[in-house]
Structure formats: structure tokens, C-alpha cells
């Protein structure tokens, strides 16, 4: 393919990526070093609000943003260096907690609390997703041709459900006296409150994520299973290899590039865990890094939002993903070089 044709094909995609990914990223990066705030003045204001029969009027000092001659709020933007990052990371408090060996204090600082859960969530669900994905793929592969279609359809169902809806369904099944909690209570004959402590919520979240993502892994692995060299498998059978040995020495090495691919996708997705937090409304016990960014960004009822901290937190999340991806990426890189 000559360069012109190549450029014509790739151009639109590169343009879109620049416009919708690269530029926003640069803008977020820049915003994390600046703070933009309205210029306030303190004025004495009398405010009257309704009581039942009469009005209640109070006169008090209030901070009001100054408006320019067009009625726009005057803002000023200031370079603050790493201040927003410090505000998110709270390094002094975190360091004090670490030096005192006081983990419970560290886990009450938002960022570290979120990081702890995000990492646990990502690293525990990863092997489960790979394991279940592989299991389902082998199951489909061994299913008789006549039922293979329905089996694929059923195992794909969880993946099709919109994440927030899926999380909400699990929430409703287990919340309060939800059907499944009621069933558990009847079975174990004791009162169960699954949303009253962190660990049960975390288990439910991981269960939900594995249930939701394993079908994706399964489909990828199932495709890979179709290309396993049948001759090697047959010779292994003749050599007396057990089913497990065939799996371990022939199938898994063959699927390794796909396993790494699925791991990388899952690491990226799981590190941005968000739907579970919202769906389970677990903010009291469990928060994630992505949720923290969202929380900074949501305006409170008076319209204030922390854009600079949100930017800093978003950049930190990205750095986290890059760090996590270095290991699998290095491996692919090595394999790639070895192949030539």
C-alpha cells in the first residue's frame, strides 16, 4: 500500500483520536496545574425566606462573585504547580500514617482508600476472569454441535447487559430484604445485612464484575481454541497425556498471546471501576479512583466543583494504568522481538 492510500485510510481515525482523546488529555493535564476561581467580594445582604405566616429575614455577610459589565462572573486563573496533586494525595497525612504504621488512618484518606480498593478489585478479578473465561470457552468447545449456539448465547448474556443496570439489579437482589438476601436468611436462619460492611460489598462487586466480563474473555478464548493444532493434540493423546496435561502444555501456551490481550484489556477496564460504586451506592464504605474523580467534578448544590483536583485525580488514574500495563506490555514486546 502506498503512503497516500495509507494516509487516506488512517487520517480520519488519527484526526478523531487527536480531537477526542489527545487534546482533552492535554487540556486536563494543563488544568491540573492551574486553579480557576471566581473573584469574590464580601457584601452585607438581607435575605427573606418564607416562614409559615410571616417572613424570616436575616442580614448577614456573604461572599458574592463579582460580575463584569456584561454580567459575566469575573474569574482568575493561577498557576499552582503540584498543589492540586498534593490536595488529592495528602502526602503529609499519608506519610504520618505510614510511619506510625497506622493503616486504619491511611485508609480513611480518600485517595489511598480508593487506591486500596481499586488495586484489590483489579488484581483479584483478573485471574478469576481469565479462569472462568477459559472454563466457559472449553465448555462451549466441548459442547455438542446441536446445543453450541444456545450455550454461546446464554454465556454471552451477562456481557450484553448495560453495566449500571447489571450492578443495580445485583444491588436490588441483595439490598435490605431483597429476594436473594431473604433466601440466604431463610437458609442460614440468621439476619444478614450485606450492605452494612465493606467486605461483603466488595465481594458482591467482584462477583458482579467477573460475571459481567468473563463472557468476553470466553469469546476471545473460544476463537483461539479453533486454531489449536489438532495434530499436536492427537500425538499428545497417543503419548498418553491426560486432559490436564494437554491443556497445560499445548492449549494454554497456544492461547498465551490472547490471555495477555485479555489481561491488558481487563486491567485497563477494572482500574477504572466506577459502575459498581454507583450501582451499589457504596460510597460510605468503598470508593474507587474513578469515582473520586467523578465526585470532585459533580457540582454541589451551590454550584461549586473542584475541576483542578478532578484533573489531578484523572491524571493519577492514568499514571496508575500505565504502571499496571508495563509488565504485560514488556512481555509482549519481548515475544514480539523474539519472533523475528
Amino acid at each position: 500500500m502506498n503512503f497516500r492510500t495509507f494516509a487516506a485510510f488512517v487520517g480520519p481515525s488519527v484526526f478523531m483520536m487527536l480531537l477526542f482523546i489527545a487534546f482533552p488529555l492535554v487540556s486536563v493535564f494543563k488544568q491540573s496545574f492551574y486553579i480557576t476561581q471566581p473573584v469574590y467580594e464580601t457584601v452585607e445582604v438581607e435575605t427573606c425566606t418564607p416562614g409559615f405566616l410571616t417572613q424570616t429575614c436575616v442580614t448577614e455577610l456573604k461572599s458574592q462573585p463579582k460580575l463584569d459589565e456584561h454580567g459575566e462572573v469575573i474569574t482568575r486563573t493561577e498557576y499552582v504547580g503540584l498543589q492540586s496533586y498534593r490536595n488529592v494525595l495528602e502526602p503529609e497525612r499519608a506519610w504520618r500514617a505510614i510511619t506510625e504504621g497506622n493503616w486504619s488512618v491511611l485508609s480513611t484518606i480518600n485517595f489511598w482508600k480508593a487506591l486500596r480498593f481499586t488495586l484489590t478489585f483489579t488484581l483479584i478479578t483478573l485471574p478469576l476472569v481469565i479462569g472462568f473465561g477459559l472454563g466457559i470457552a472449553v465448555l462451549i468447545n466441548n459442547a455438542a454441535g446441536s446445543i453450541r449456539g444456545p450455550v454461546i448465547f446464554i454465556s454471552l448474556l451477562p456481557f450484553i447487559i448495560t453495566p449500571v443496570i447489571g450492578a443495580l439489579s445485583i444491588n436490588w437482589l441483595f439490598r435490605g430484604d431483597g429476594i436473594l438476601t431473604a433466601l440466604l436468611e431463610w437458609w442460614l436462619n440468621r439476619d444478614i445485612a450485606l450492605f452494612a460492611q465493606a467486605w461483603t460489598i466488595e465481594i458482591l462487586m467482584m462477583f458482579y464484575r467477573v460475571w459481567h466480563v468473563a463472557p468476553f474473555a470466553a469469546v476471545v478464548f473460544y476463537a483461539g481454541l479453533q486454531t489449536v493444532n489438532q495434530d499436536s493434540l492427537e500425538s499428545a493423546v497417543i503419548d498418553g497425556a491426560t486432559r490436564w496435561q494437554r491443556m497445560k502444555y499445548i492449549v494454554i501456551p497456544h492461547l498465551m498471546p490472547l490471555i495477555i490481550f485479555v489481561s491488558m484489556i481487563h486491567l485497563m477496564d477494572a482500574y477504572r471501576v466506577f459502575e459498581e460504586i454507583v450501582g451499589f451506592s457504596s460510597q460510605a464504605y468503598v470508593i474507587s479512583l474513578q469515582w473520586l474523580t467523578f465526585d470532585f467534578l459533580v457540582p454541589d448544590q451551590a454550584g461549586n466543583r473542584s475541576i483542578s483536583r478532578a484533573s489531578a485525580s484523572a491524571m493519577l488514574t492514568m499514571i496508575g494504568i500505565v504502571l499496571l500495563l508495563i509488565l504485560p506490555l514488556r512481555r509482549t514486546w519481548r515475544d514480539h522481538k523474539g519472533g523475528h
Binding site: 469574590y40 480513611t108 452494612a196 460510605a284 464504605y285 473542584s306
Partner: protein, 403 residues
Amino acid sequence: MKLKTILMAGAMAIAASGASAACSYENEVPLKSLSAGFEAWKAVTDAMAECGNFSASLDQEFREKQPEAFAANPSLYQIGGVSNATLVPLLNAGTIRPLDDLVEKYGQNLLPNQLIKVDGKTMAIAFMVNAQHLMYRNDVLADLGIEEPKTYGEIIDAAAKIKEAGVMDYPIGGTFKTGWNLGQEFVNMYLGEGGAFFGDGNMPAINNAQGVAALETLKAMTDYMDPEYLVSDSTYVQQQFQQGKIAMANLWASRAAAMNDEAESQVVGKVTMASAPMGSSVPATTVWWDGIVLASNMSDEEADAAFRLVMEGIDAEMVGANNDTAVWLSTAYTPGELAAGAAASAEGGAKPYPASGPMGIMHTSLGNGLADYLTGAKDAQTALADIEADYITAAKEAGLISN
């Protein structure tokens, strides 16, 4: 056949909309409104729609959209629905207009206390008030010979008796969901104790005896609440009441009508509305209002038409038809038993919600920071100190505290 049915239905709808015009005039100017979506707003906007050329957006996320929508020129909505808190960003940005001339022209039927005045100028028209107040199961309390609780101490005693008698496992309900709801619970308690949120220069001032007292009361209540209280919002508490699972809760007046909704409730007529429990100084609740504002960025003709339409929407006819939906501010409103709780709280001296820019940040910090105390991760003073630190960080970023 099918097509015919559809055509018929269409024709009927047109005929109906022509006939139902209970509106006293025909609105010629296209108008739009953006407001919250609860029952009272539905009643008001339905009444406005009868005049024609009007479309309402009832949106639970309205507070995130309103500031931007009203800052556009021309404004995306002519009419906005606000409460004491959501008025603040619009007021700060200067995107709503004074209504004094319009009140003079069309507002003959307004009560003086409906006019929300800021620095002498009418900036909003309130049409209802809302407050959290005590609701309790009169049958359960009467069976055990318990008097109507007046303070949180008495509520906790009553809860202990109910639990001991084996009537209910968790007699108290509460809107303790982390975030806005939990923040609001603290605001109620703290004002009830007579506390003030800010010192000079918007500096926080909640780490004090009143703050600790408020926290301790909240914690004492959780002993008698369903252990999943940190995910329980107003709707959940309402359902717990309706299903007979709880006996007492400090719940919004706007939820009172649901207790007697025979389609949903198993406790019709068994829930009494009483004043919010007394704190050390005033009832531990805050009075809120809901009302209407008009955008600055529109022509005066539009503003004229919009105000006239609003007056039609909140007229005596609408209030009469929806008397029990809310605690209306109107001459046509007859306060029934359902409004008794809100009225008694106000008579007891309950304060209005102290809405302001700094308060918005404080409410968020409280809502996010209190759970650590209730779950036992922090003691009261540490929790309050951490909330103050969080507030200062956010307030500095917002420019409300100078560095």
C-alpha cells in the same frame, strides 16, 4: 382497524386538550421550564401546560444543568424551579431577573411571605415549603403506652421499648445515605443544637461541643436502625414506613401523603405527623422552600408571559386540586393533618436551611466525611477535624477562603 384506533385516539387527545383548558387565557409565547421532578412540581407544571405553548422538563439532575442552561444567551429555559440551595448558583452568576414589576402587575394573589427577597429585590416566588419532621406509628406507640416523643432522647427511649417488646427489630428509620442525605441529617442536628457553621472569612467552625453532640445523637439512633442505614434515602425510608417495618423517622413533609396512599401503604391512618424533635435550642430540622425564578437572558415580553403563566400554575385552583400533595404557600391551602408536622416544627422555631456558596461545600464535605464516624473508623473530634480540613481544601480551590 389499528390505524383507525390511532386516529381516533389522536382526535380524542386533541379534543381533550381543547376542552380541558382550565386556564383563564391562551398563552401565545413559547415557554420552557426546568425544575425538580417531585409530585408538587408535576402538579404546578401540569396546571401551567393547560394554557398551551409550554413544555416542562422535570429532571432530578436539574441542579447540574440549570446554571449552564441559564447562562446561555438566550437562556435555554425561561422558567426555572429552585429551592433555597439551588437558588445560590443562579443568584451568584446573575442569570435570574428581579421580579418586582411583574409581581406588581400579576401578583395580586401572592402572599407576602412567598416573595423571596435578596437585598430588597424579589428574586424568586416560593409556592411550597418542605421540612423534615417526626412521623411515628400512633398504633405502635399507643399499644406500649409511649407518649409522643419530643426530643431525640425520647425517641431513642421509645425505640428501646419497641425493640424490647419485640414489635420491631429496627424501630427507627433515617435518611442516612452517604452524601447529600447524611450531610442534611447533620445540618438538622447541628442547627437544633444551636451551632453555627462558619466563623470569619468563611472559615469552618463545626469542631465544637455542638458538633460532637450532633454526631453522638446520630450514632445513638443508628443502634435502632437497619444496619444498612448508610444506603437508605428518602424513598427507602418511605417504603420501610409503608411496609410497617419502622415506627419512627424524621422524614420530609413531601413524603407524608404517601403514608396514606392505599395503593402502596399498609399503614394508612396509622402514621402521625409531629414536630421535628427538639435539639438543645430549636427543633432539629431545616425549613426549605421551592419556588420559581425567571431567566435574565430573555426578552421582557417573554418574561411577562412567563410570569403570567407561573401565576396560573400556582393559582388557587391548582392548590385546591392538590391540597395534600405539599405544604403550599397559598390562601387557598387548607392545612390538613399531613401538614401538622411541618407547621409544628416551624412554630417551634426551626431555622431555614442556611444556603450559601460555602454551605454547598460544607454540605458535601459533611456528606462524604460523616460515614467514617458512624462506621467507627474515626472518633467524633477526628471526624469533625477531617471534615473541616476537607472543607478548607475545597473552599480554597473555589476561592472562598483566601490563602
